[in-house]
Symmetry: C2
Subunit: 209 residues, 2 copies
DNA sequence: ACGTGTGAACCGATTCACAGCA
DNA sequence: TGCTGTGAATCGGTTCACACGT
């Protein structure tokens, strides 16, 4: 029943949620599909089709209640309740996420951080204590963390990812430019900055100049 | 002529390139499509079709010369020559990119960095001098930089993006969770960490558990 | 009259299957 | 025989267009 929902639809739900929050902050209480998504270069039909996979949330002839729809999309994504996240690797990139204040708005909490460098561990970065990687199993297990940001150097990525899975992590956001080989039931998303740059160069080179 | 190439194909070219480089480092000189892409969960037919948009690079009954194909894909993407990149916003995230040694492998050079905080500017971070944002036009123009990593806080993203375009930047990699409104001919790619996390949660919630 | 919700039509990307060459 | 390159078939996602409820 839920399997046939396009990946792209789920991605767009995030965008919708963000736009809705901005409208809410601006004091808007009702929007039409057209008003909501035209600034995102998405068609109103696409928006309505996306929502239709999950139910009917608008009122015909009227539009959508901003507040209610924020709640509904949050419920769909599962981010209506808070999720704990572990940061693994506290180099500059990992540190950036530990200190990023924006996650809480999305209901994500950096609940643990790990490094294998003893000169970095046992210190607090904000309210998060950097633990030695040897303590991963204990801490992740105790705090029941399911999500991890993998920010270790490339050469350690695969090995660390396996260790995370063994600690109970179910989904990994991977920032290293390697394809992780993990069990089928583990979800991996890659954030590939160099790859994005390559794509930008390709577009520059072909269209425009 | 180049317009009908799927976006997804270009994305995969990056992956192929990465795998080929790893094979080269391992001393492999010839691979079949199957050997190359099966660890990436991509079908060999997909790989061959992707390449066929650009030409015929293999030998029937044999496979592909690793070295030659690395060169060909680099030429296709445009990353066979080096590209200068500007980092805008030198908070933790921007700093992470300035110090990231991995870009050079992909032929990207951090050629400039900017911040609006006078306490950060006029200092060197590695070999890169942090310039005041007021000097963007001069520096970007002089160095002919076309690519920018936008790492400023959310509230400054749109305004800074416009400024970048006015300085001659043609493509922006946007790390803030806002949709940038820019002229048609400017290429934007979004790296949306919170959105990726939302997607991971959705997958966890629906499949797994 | 207005804007949603949705089956049907369309379009583009992936997969299939095989001809062709080493 | 083995593996590439590619038209044809298939699959899935987007867009269209309109019935329906307010």
């Amino acid at each position: 029943m839920a399997a046939e929902i396009p990946n792209a639809t789920v991605k767009r739900l995030s965008y919708y949620l963000r736009s809705l929050r901005r409208l809410k902050d601006a004091g808007v209480s009702v929007v039409s599909s057209e008003e909501l998504v035209s600034p995102l270069n998405i068609s109103s039909a696409q928006f309505r089709k996306d929502l239709s996979y999950f139910g009917a949330f608008g009122r015909k002839g009227v539009g959508y209640r901003v507040d209610a729809l924020i709640g509904e999309i949050g419920k769909i994504l599962g981010t209506d309740s808070a999720w704990k996240v572990a940061v693994v690797g506290t180099g500059r990139l990992g540190s950036a996420f530990i200190s990023y204040p924006g996650f809480s708005k999305f209901n994500f909490i950096i609940a643990a951080a790990f490094d294998n460098d003893p000169s970095k561990t046992e210190k607090f970065r904000g309210s998060v204590k950097i633990e030695n990687i040897a303590r991963m199993k204990e801490v992740i297990g105790r705090k029941k963390i399911k999500l991890a940001l993998l920010c270790v150097p490339q050469h350690a990525a695969q090995k660390t990812a396996i260790a995370l899975v063994n600690c109970g992590i179910r989904a990994i956001l991977n920032f290293s430019p390697v394809h992780l080989l993990l069990p089928e039931d583990i979800t991996v998303a890659d954030v590939d900055v160099a790859g994005e740059l390559e794509r930008l160069v390709y577009t520059l080179k072909t269209s425009g100049r």
